[in-house]
């Protein structure tokens, strides 16, 4: 017998010993980061970056498979006893010697997880992790000229790239309200001093918002540059239009932190079949949030409609896609249920989800 087969035999036997629990239920008590466990991480340090941003140093469990610069991870952290999942870009380089990863979080007003991470998270806390994912990455073949267009906390995935890969010609246009709000300001200026980066730093409180039409003045050859952009919806929408208008849309790579929600309508009563809960939902709140509030175990991912980590069978009724307004109705077949993305769908009348 191979050693893998032997091990799986032994594991089966152990399961007979621990039933109805699993051997891992006991192992988790002593070694939550071990190989073979659900992926978790331990917060090792929290470094303040600005008044409302901090970098969290995480030691990932043995199962961590590494990331590509620009990708994000999902973390599940208990805030006031409730497990909440959010996505954060990895800001550490892939080559970090101690195997730790960092994320950098900006606290947003009333934000549950971001405020917890920036102001309350303590070293030693064990958090849940997912493997890194995301398409916002550098290509294998190095482009000759690069532009990074960022604003606010949108600098995070780009910082991961800057720390990871050197290019001959890199320009960065970064906006933040004031000088002291610029996350990683020291690191950026160190790179400038090393001649590894050309930086255009805009302070919107004094300089005003970046008008995308003015980009040409700041970076005359912008259209020739392979561009990675990340920031608030307004900036990204403007960039998307601008690049398309100049026929260079294929050079623009974007990362959004939130979905662009356009519509809302009538809500309805939502039933979660498996958990046996029924709650009233308005037509603007994603079903993901509705379920979570009711204590239902809802799978989730990016929470903005790109990863499909949240798809759930719709057993009856109708839901509305908050990005497009499109209505999806449950199918008549009792077995082949339509799958809906709960993070960007709201109730459109009474409906039932299989959770």
């Amino acid at each position: 017998m191979t050693s893998a087969a032997l091990r799986s035999r032994a594991w089966k036997l152990l399961e007979l010993v621990t039933t109805p629990l699993l051997p891992s239920d006991y192992l988790d008590l002593v070694s939550p980061l071990r190989a073979g466990a659900d992926l978790r991480g331990r917060i090792e340090a929290v470094h303040r970056e600005t008044d409302d941003a901090a970098t969290i140093v995480i030691r990932p469990g043995k199962g961590w498979r590494g990331h590509v610069a620009g990708q994000y991870i999902r973390i599940g952290i208990d805030v006031d006893g409730v497990r909440l999942w959010r996505a954060y870009s990895v800001t550490s380089p892939t080559s970090r010697a101690d195997g730790r990863i960092t994320i950098t979080v900006k606290a947003i007003p009333d934000g549950k997880v971001s405020n917890h991470l920036v102001r309350k998270a303590k070293p030693g806390t064990v958090i849940q992790l997912d493997q890194a994912t995301g398409e916002f990455v550098l290509p294998a073949a190095k482009p000759a000229k690069v532009l990074y267009l960022t604003a606010g906390s949108g600098i995070t995935p780009v910082m991961g790239m800057l720390r990871d890969t050197k290019f001959a010609d890199v320009v960065m246009v970064h906006s933040a309200p004031r000088k002291e709000d610029v996350i990683f300001r020291n690191d950026l200026h160190d790179l400038v001093a090393d001649k590894a980066l050309t930086l255009v730093e805009l302070h919107t409180d004094t300089d005003g918002m970046l008008d995308i039409a003015e980009l040409e003045k700041l970076v005359p050859d912008w259209a020739e540059r392979e561009t990675w952009a990340c920031g608030p919806t307004g900036l990204l929408d403007a960039a998307e239009e601008h690049w398309a208008k100049h026929g260079v849309a294929e050079r623009l790579h974007m990362e959004r932190f939130r979905p662009t929600v356009v519509v809302a309508g009538e809500g309805g009563e939502v039933t979660f079949g498996k958990t046996g809960k029924t709650v009233e939902a308005d037509g603007a709140t994603p079903l993901l949030n509705i379920g979570e509030e009711a204590g239902v175990l809802m799978p989730s991912g990016c929470r903005m409609g790109i990863c499909f980590g949240c798809v759930t069978p719709l057993k009856s009724g109708a839901v509305r896609d908050l990005r497009t307004g499109e209505i999806t109705e449950a199918s008549d077949s009792p077995t082949a249920h339509v799958l809906v993305q709960t993070c960007v769908s709201a109730a459109a009348g009474p409906c039932e989800l299989e959770r």
């Binding site: 629990l21 208990d78 006031d80 497990r83 958990t275 175990l297």
Partner: protein, 372 residues
Amino acid sequence: MTAIDPTAHLTDEQIEELGRELDAIRDEVIASRGEKDAAYIRKVISVQRKLELTSRGILLFSLFPPAWIIGTAGLSVAKIMDNMEIGHNILHGQWDWMRDPKIHSTTWEWDHVSPADQWKHSHNELHHTYTNVIGKDNDLGYGIMRVDEDQKWHPMYLAQPLWNFINACFFEYGIAAYDLELGKNLHKRRRKNPEFVARAKAVGRKIRKQVLKDYVIHPLLSGPSFLTTLAATFTANLIRNLWSHSVIMCGHFPEGVQTFERRSIRGETRGQWYLRQMMGSANISGSKAMHFMTGNLSHQIEHHLFPDLPSNRYAEVAVKVRALFEKYELDYVTGPLPKQVFSAWHKVFRLSLPNKKPKVKTPDRDKELVAA
């Protein structure tokens, strides 16, 4: 159904007001649920697992009498914790708000022969909805006993103290049978019902795993202590069964607890539902340790009012609930464990004999409602 309705002095308006006051108590707990509560249940789970592991470890040497005694005691406590404070309460969804998939009513499985999902159906959906409604709530007498003066007597009931004792010793099997509604489903016509067959198979699988673990694997691991470990796990299961049976009997059987007629719950309002839970349950008084070992089912009244509030909060809720009983001049049935156990058994013995039909009729809320 007692001869005199102890809630007769309340007007419909008062009953609804009582309901609102109870809702407020519930909302307060929900608003303040948080990190401390989460830490509590995680701690309990962690202690239980360590206790079970240690006890089973000690039992590997159960040939040595002190090891047998310590191991058996530890395993009994671990099994009681698993079923009561942990399993029962998690399966009620008391900890679902934490959204931890490892501590959730839809994923939890317990050290019990009845699979969690079947127990949830018969317990949460039937017993908690139809609390003490004769003919609807099978927890009342488990379908094998006469528990109310109004129930027709049959010579079979003469032996009900014996049925009750046997049920206590093998309580987990009694519950599995009862969750399967064996009495009803073993009828010729129903026996082949595919849904019943599937459920019966699930119970069979669960029993097989439980028996294999307790009576084969662990004794085998004990080598020369095979027989003594077998005796130890049997004893631990027996102690757990007797204990949980006693606690549960105290919840609804003691004298002073009301039962209800099927038609009295038709068109029940929220206030009336609360009132039925208040009158249909009884508490056990005692130390913190006692409350813990009953899985806080010693706060049965509070548990029945708010089945999905975290169990560690029932003690503080009880103070407020008791004040409401006083305000509305209702009888809060409670007493120390021995007294309540005696009272429940006394009823089992008393009703094993025929009695005269009570003469005075219960004032019927249903009729009042129609008249109003």
